[in-house]
Every structure is written in structure tokens, then in C-alpha cells.
């Protein structure tokens, strides 16, 4: 009886899903709404409405701002889950696994990392800040920022990174992504606009573009720093081993 009920419910669900697939517009057809309305709108007005010369950044921060906010929150939740399972590293109790391993690190690796690490970090910030004009943006720059922390930890050990990037500040950096979106959204609400509107009518007309650019850059920095801090925190949590 129970089994039959389950099968019947699944059959109903199947019919519903098949019906939905049948009434969907045909795949790849030029008459689809995505091809007749959305793409021309993006191509014609994307730069003007998005406020960024790089169309991709304009779309993901403006038209799809809620989507990007969700993505940033997902990264934050992932970090929270990793820390809940593995726990934070403690500089007094833990050391990195690379440090206690018997493989000796070569001089070449140390020299190259010491020479390149500042440039990698600089490049990461360039990508974050230049995301509105050229390919790149918060997510990409954040990943490079996290990668720079990873190579420094692997070559110079735990103590240096844990001291320079102490937990006190890292907690703030990790929440920078959702926080920057929240601040940008609330600014719009206080101006009487919808959440995540960047073009604010309460600002003088000549400064509107400037303020919008400022908000976009703030959100980009938030995404980048938040993503980088999340990646490095996940890495440090996975890399730690107990000191003996």
C-alpha cells in the first residue's frame, strides 16, 4: 500500500517534469526570449546601465547582483562548514604539515617564492581593482590572493603566516564579501531605491557615475578580499598538524 503510494507520487512527479520539458521553448532556437530580449539588451545598454566597461563585471554585479551575492554567501557558508568540521588553527598548538615532513625544501624554491610572492599579491590586487575595466574581478583576484597565501605557507611555514595574517583581522576579512554587498544594498535602500541599485538618484547628477563606480569597486574589493581570506583559512585549517 505504502509502496504503491510512493510509486504513484513519483509517477505524478515524472508527468509534471516531462510536461515542463515539453512546454519549454526549443533549445538553441533564435526565437527564444534569451536571444530576442536579453542578449540584445545586454549588448546595447549593458555598458551604460552596468556602469563597467567590462561587460561581464557589469552583468554579474548589476543585472545579476542577487545571484553574485548568493555566490559570495555560498563561499562564506563553505568556509564555516570547513571550520566547523576541522577547527581553526592555533599558532601555539599547531604547525604545518610541510614543516614537519622529512623532505627538505630547496633553496631555489625559497628564493623564487621570496622574489615572486610580492608580485603575485600585487597582481591579485590589480585584477580585483581593475575588474570593471578589463577581464578579471573579485572572484579571480581573490583566488590569486588565496594562492599567494598558500605558497608562502608551504615554503616559509605556519608561524610567519599566522603572525602576519593574525586571526583577529582574518575573521573580519572573511566576512568582507557578504558584508560589502550588504552595505552597498543598504546605501541604495536609504536612498529610497531597490536593494543593490548602484545608480542613486539622491546623489547630485554629476557625481552619480562616480558614486556608482565607487560602489562597484567596493563590492569588488569585498568579494576579492573575502574570497582570498576564505581560501587561505580553509587551506590553513586543512594543513595544520598537532605539534608534538
Amino acid at each position: 500500500m505504502k509502496k504503491g503510494l510512493v510509486v504513484f507520487a513519483l509517477f505524478l512527479l515524472w508527468i509534471l517534469l516531462v510536461y515542463t520539458v515539453i512546454v519549454l521553448p526549443p533549445m538553441g532556437s533564435p526565437e527564444n526570449p534569451t536571444n530576442t530580449h536579453i542578449i540584445p539588451r545586454y549588448l546595447e545598454k549593458g555598458v551604460e546601465e552596468g556602469g563597467a566597461h567590462n561587460l561581464v563585471t557589469g552583468i554579474i554585479l548589476n543585472y545579476r547582483g542577487f545571484d553574485t551575492m548568493g555566490e559570495v554567501t555560498v563561499i562564506f557558508v563553505a568556509l564555516t562548514c570547513v571550520l566547523a568540521v576541522l577547527g581553526r588553527e592555533n599558532i601555539l598548538r599547531h604547525t604545518s604539515k610541510a614543516e614537519v615532513s622529512s623532505v627538505e625544501k630547496s633553496v631555489i624554491v625559497k628564493c623564487v617564492v621570496r622574489f615572486l610572492a610580492p608580485f603575485i599579491i600585487l597582481f591579485a590586487f590589480y585584477i580585483i581593482l581593475h575588474g570593471a575595466e578589463s577581464p578579471g574581478g573579485g572572484f579571480q583576484g581573490g583566488a590569486i590572493l588565496g594562492a599567494s597565501v598558500i605558497i608562502i605557507t608551504l615554503t616559509f611555514g605556519f608561524a610567519l603566516v599566522a603572525k602576519k595574517l593574525s586571526l583577529k583581522y582574518r575573521v573580519l576579512f572573511e566576512s568582507a564579501g557578504p558584508l560589502s554587498f550588504f552595505i552597498a544594498g543598504m546605501v541604495a535602500i536609504f536612498c529610497g531605491q531597490n536593494f543593490l541599485t548602484y545608480l542613486l538618484p539622491c546623489v547630485a547628477h554629476t557625481y552619480q557615475d562616480f558614486v556608482r563606480h565607487l560602489l562597484l569597486i567596493m563590492v569588488e574589493i569585498g568579494i576579492g578580499v573575502g574570497g582570498g581570506a576564505a581560501i587561505s583559512s580553509i587551506f590553513l585549517a586543512m594543513e595544520k598538524v598537532e605539534k608534538e
Partner: protein
Amino acid sequence: MLRSLDVILLVFLLVTAVGVVRTKDLLGASIIFSAYSFTMAIVWQQLSAPDLALTEAAVGAGVTTVLFLITISRTVRREDE
């Protein structure tokens, strides 16, 4: 010329994708997966999507490979028992 580069990249992509699944050794598989990500980054660039290429190179080839390697180094192999 560019067309042949695309064909080579796509064939290499297929070979590495099958290689990741077929390799028994987890360390080898994660290194092949890193090669797959790098090829994918170049393919994105060829499809004129530089934003995605940057993401794929930084996240796919860089960060995930490191996280895979750490996970492998912290777990034991079941087959060795």
C-alpha cells in the same frame, strides 16, 4: 592555424578527462586534473571568455589541486592494507 590549435586542445581535453577517471592512483589523477584545468583555461581564452579563463586557471588549476593534494596526504590508502 588557429583551428588546428583548437583541435589539439580539445583532443588533449578529452584525453585528460578520460585519464582522470581511469587513473587508479589518486595523486596522479589530481595532477592530470590540474592539466585538464589548464587546458580548459586556454579553451576558454580561445572562446574569447578571458574572465572565465582567469578563474579556471586560478581556482581549477591552482587552489583545488593544492586542496586535493593536502587531502590525499592526510588520508591513508585502503588498497595497501
